[in-house]
Amino acid sequence: MPDDALDPVIHAPARLRVVATLVGLGGGDRISFPRLRGMLDMTAGNLSTHLRRLEEAGYVTITKTYEGRSPATYVALTPAGRLAFDVYAQRLRELLGSGR
């Protein structure tokens, strides 16, 4: 990826919404798949597709666990994902010319 390009993994509306939401959670936090889906108002299939892409890039971790008898899936941003988002947001602001 050239220095001035926006990270294509993040620079897509749906994945940007996923990553920006995860960045807004506290560091060291993870969120249940249904809660994340509700916050983004995306279909389960759509969200799964984007999460898989983010997981392949090493930006999120997806943990499958059990709560009592029922399976539960949790999503968390990795340090690499947080860094990639910071770089992405910085480039956006540079592109906008404000340089804030």
């Binding site: 294509p8 620079h11 897509a12 509306p13 749906a14 994945r15 940007l16 919404r17 920006a20 939401t21 995860l22 960045v23 807004g24 959670l25 506290g26 560091g27 060291g28 936090d29 993870r30 969120i31 249940s32 249904p34 809660r35 994340l36 916050m39 279909t43 299939g45 759509n46 597709t49 984007h50 892409r53 949790y74 968390a76 947001a89 956006l92 602001r93 592109l95 906008l96």
Partner: protein, 209 residues
């Protein structure tokens, strides 16, 4: 196909920044609202301690009813706090959930300690006035220190300042006697919480704009 980086119009810079701002606001709603909780507890203190203040010196029946209603107001505030916190943080696990649980237990332990201390003073023969003054001042100490702890944990300056104010006002209230102590807690304590609710509400609104 729903993989939107291969289809549709390209994502614009301003549009991307707007998405980021929107999702930050959405993520903030996974934490309890400081203005709402300060507002609930400010109202509870104004009503609860206000009733106790006004009932001192009235006949026994009036005073008993005032104590019952004040208790119900506090219980209602506890229920709202628990319901709001559980709803907001539903589905969030990890560090902040652990911090929140430890903080919640801190309140339980603090007021357990307050109740036991006040009971012990009464048991040791302290007058009704001394018991009342100690109950109010120690309750304010617990609330003040826990707000200070919350301010440290969430780097929330308004919460820290409110804690310091309640702690000091509560300590000073012990010089106000009974019923003056109740007036201090209702007006300075509850009033301070309502001011904090307003300040954090205005600031939240501004940072979202």
């Amino acid at each position: 196909m729903d993989d939107d980086d291969t289809t549709g119009t390209p994502l614009g810079t301003e549009e991307a920044l707007a998405i980021i701002a929107d999702q930050r606001a959405a993520a903030a709603r996974t934490q309890p609202s400081a203005p709402l909780l300060f507002g609930v507890w400010g109202t509870a203190w104004v009503l609860g301690y206000g009733l106790l203040w006004l009932s001192v010196g009235e006949d026994e029946l009036w005073a008993a009813w005032a104590a019952v209603v004040a208790g119900l107001v506090i219980v209602a505030a506890m229920v709202v706090t628990a319901w709001h916190s559980v709803t907001r943080t539903h589905g969030i696990r990890g560090r902040s959930a652990q911090q929140g649980a430890m903080y919640g237990w801190g309140w339980f332990l603090g007021f357990l300690g307050q109740g036991v201390t006040v009971a012990a003073l009464a048991d040791a023969g302290a007058s009704r006035e001394v018991v009342g003054l100690a109950a109010n001042a120690i309750a304010s100490l617990v609330v003040g220190l826990l707000y200070i702890a919350g301010g440290l944990m969430w780097r929330a300056t308004a919460m820290y300042a409110l804690g310091a104010w309640i702690l000091l006002a509560g300590a000073a209230s012990a010089f106000a006697g009974i019923p003056g102590s109740y007036a201090v807690l209702a007006l300075a304590g509850g009033g301070g919480m309502l001011v904090a609710a307003l300040v954090t509400r205005v600031r939240d609104g501004r940072s979202r704009a």
